[in-house]
């Protein structure tokens, strides 16, 4: 029936937003082993910078790459100033540092842009499209397309190129990677810069649908993080699948069970995954020789 299709489409739409964020999480985690809790804020900065640039009169096609560049530079700065000095700390401490960065960026966002939602025009005029009785926004379709393009690009990058392998090697065995002549500190910087750019891309694509506010990063960040866990932490395709799955779970549980408990059900599912398949839903179990 209609309802099912609408729930499915909405679930995939929302899920693709989560997946966009998850992909940024995986990138940093794959290279540095750090869980970047400020990933959502990269999306926020990308979106709001783009709004400001557009308001300054720059056409949207120019504003977007500029906004991505600005956010990438901020990602670079975050790595150099907050992560690199603490590079020998335990993972927990690094996570807490990224939490601090997240709070800082959110505060800056509030000061610079205020708390009112700001709208961002989409690249292509957005319209509602009817699809067998269900409704989908054209911008959502673009997000899907972007998601798959990113999926292919990142998969190719990490798996098939040398630099991608170097990045993965740096996380797995930083000492061995160093012995191969790889400067692991540079790898960490590259990872953060790339992830910040990915976050900005996500923000710029999402904002036409949801408007940009200084607090938008928190909600999508948490969801992206959960999606990454579903997908198995290290896997880009897993993160994408995880995001879509999360969106669909939310949509169906809200639609068929109750909207009051959507979050509880989604996080309940997360707990089940952590108990029974902590390596993620889409990865084979990996063992390590001791």
């Amino acid at each position: 029936m209609d309802l099912f299709l609408q729930y499915l489409i909405t679930g995939l739409t929302v899920g693709s937003i989560y997946a966009l964020l998850a992909v940024g999480f995986v990138t940093i985690y794959n290279v540095t082993g750090v869980l970047n809790l400020a990933q959502g804020e990269f999306a926020m900065i990308g979106a709001l910078s783009c709004v400001t640039l557009v308001n300054l009169g720059i056409p949207i096609l120019g504003a977007i790459p500029l906004a991505i560049l600005i956010t990438a530079i901020i990602g670079f700065g975050v790595e150099r100033l907050a992560i690199y000095p603490a590079r020998n700390a335990t993972p927990i401490i690094l996570v807490v540092i990224t939490l601090g960065v997240s709070i800082f960026l959110k505060g800056m966002g509030l000061i610079i842009w205020g708390s009112s939602p700001k709208s961002l025009p989409p690249i292509v005029e957005s319209r509602s499209i009817q699809f067998f009785g269900a409704v989908i926004n054209s911008q959502s379709i673009w997000i899907f397309i972007l998601l798959f393009v990113l999926l292919i690009l990142l998969y190719w990058f990490f798996d098939k190129t040398f630099i991608g392998s170097a990045l993965r090697a740096s996380e797995k065995n930083p000492h061995a990677a160093s012995l191969m002549g790889i400067n692991t500190s540079t790898m960490s910087t590259i990872a953060f810069t790339i992830a910040a750019a990915l976050g900005a891309i996500a923000g710029v694509m999402i904002a036409p649908l949801t408007d940009a506010t200084y607090e938008m990063g928190f909600f999508i960040g948490i969801k992206g993080f959960v999606a990454m866990i579903f997908g198995g932490m290290h896997s880009v395709p897993g993160a994408v699948a995880g995001g879509l799955l999360l969106g669909v779970i939310e949509a169906f549980s809200g639609g068929y069970i109750s909207t009051y408990y959507t979050d509880a059900l989604a996080f309940g599912f997360l707990l089940l995954v952590l108990f029974f398949r902590p390596q993620g839903l889409f990865m084979r179990a990996t063992g390590e020789r001791v």
Binding site: Q6, V14, T210
Partner: protein, 389 residues
């Protein structure tokens, strides 16, 4: 053995010393200035507003209003030989800092308090005013009744009244209710339920959503299947705007009515260019020129023009709350009251009905809310508010 005894004696003496100090300190404050005018010719009112922090979008206009009012009071000169001083502290959208600022205000000998920009903050600082027996003009919706607490803000029930009027006028008997699952969002339904029952209106569906979520299509789809004749939304932005957009995308042809939390520029921006059938309960200040002539219109105009002249922008409902709180206070002082208790008695018994910018007040009858005459269900046309009869 002797060492231990010595230690105990020192401990006891220290404890006694501390207790005495604490007692003296209390005395100082008590005998000091609480409730009594410190200097004979200055009467102080304290205000706590969010000048910085996330709630500053609401508090900014309030801070400006205080400046405007102080200027007007200074120009008017002393009343009965007394100068009125408005002391305002910025609590930085932090409830803890608000409590600290509250203590400061009390120690400066204010005889009335007007606070705060947000509900949670108001609830946090209110007990101190009550304890000090200082009249407290609440600037945000709260769920407490107390003899010292006077609300300058519409209660959820009163905000729901224009909505019910509108529904009655349109002959709508079945509505769906959607609210944000946060502190503000949940206050609407209980109030509306009562009124709905009295008016024979049935709530056919109720869904909740996160005010910061990215999409509310699910909630709207569920609600649609119950065939409502109107949808009521109780949420702040950005959620209010997103659900409105989803609503339009799904092609509903029934009206959507939003609470006062959507009566701002941010919401208008979110529903730009696609806002037919969307209505919001807002202050008459925003549609001043469209109103029929009346005493109320004159009052609103006076305030609006003064504000615009001073600051170059329009005042909003939050500014209105502050104005009313101060007006009431000034009335009390004009009638010759100078202490907190006197002012409190005056407000409670003698002030009677007075016309405020937010609406008509009558503290003798109700301290919970002004009447709904200051707000109205507004439509949106040409991306700005439109008054409907």
């Amino acid at each position: 053995m002797k060492q231990m005894l010595k230690g105990k004696v020192i401990a006891l003496l220290s404890l006694a010393f501390l207790l005495i100090m604490a007692g003296c300190a209390e005395e100082n404050v008590a005998s000091g200035e609480k409730g009594e005018s410190s200097q004979d010719d200055v009467i102080k009112m304290g205000l706590l507003l969010a000048e910085t922090g996330p709630a500053s979008t609401l508090g900014a206009s309030q801070v400006k209003t205080v400046k405007l009012l102080q200027k007007q009071l200074d120009e008017a000169g002393p009343i009965n030989g007394k100068t009125i001083k408005l002391i305002q502290y910025d609590y930085e959208t932090d409830d803890t800092k608000a409590v600290v600022a509250m203590d400061k205000l009390l120690s400066e000998g204010v005889v009335a308090i007007n606070a705060a920009t947000q509900s949670s903050t108001t609830t946090a600082v209110m007990p101190k005013a009550i304890e000090a027996k200082i009249p407290f003009l609440a600037g945000a919706p709260i769920d407490v009744e107390n003899e010292y607490v006077y609300s300058t803000v519409h209660s959820p029930r009163v905000i729901a009244m224009p909505i019910v009027d509108y529904l009655n006028k349109q002959g709508i008997k079945k509505v769906a209710w959607l609210n944000a699952a946060d502190g503000f969002g949940v206050t609407g339904l209980p109030a509306f339920k009562e009124l709905a029952k009295e008016n024979g209106i049935e709530i056919v569906a109720h869904e909740e959503f996160d005010a910061t979520a990215t999409d509310m299509t699910i909630q709207l789809t569920k609600v649609r299947s119950k065939d409502p004749e109107a949808i009521i939304v109780w949420s702040r932005t950005p959620g209010a705007g997103i659900i409105a957009r989803n609503f339009k995308a799904l092609g509903f042809d029934i009206p959507m009515i939003q609470s006062t939390a959507a009566a701002n520029e941010g919401f208008l921006e979110q529903v730009k260019d696609d806002n037919e059938n969307i209505f919001v309960v807002g202050s008459k200040l925003s549609v001043l020129d469209q109103l029929p002539d009346s005493e109320q219109k004159e009052l609103l105009k006076e305030f609006k023009e003064a504000y615009e002249q001073e600051f170059g922008e329009e005042p909003d409902l939050f500014a209105a709350h502050v104005v009313d709180g101060v007006y009431a206070f000034v009335e009390a002082v004009k009638a010759g009251n100078t202490t907190a208790e006197e002012i409190h008695q005056y407000l409670a018994n003698d002030l009677g009905a007075f016309l405020g910018v937010t609406g008509t007040y009558n503290f003798s009858e109700s301290r919970i809310s002004p009447e709904p005459d200051g707000i109205s269900v507004l439509a949106i046309e040409n991306n700005t508010w439109k008054y409907i009869e």
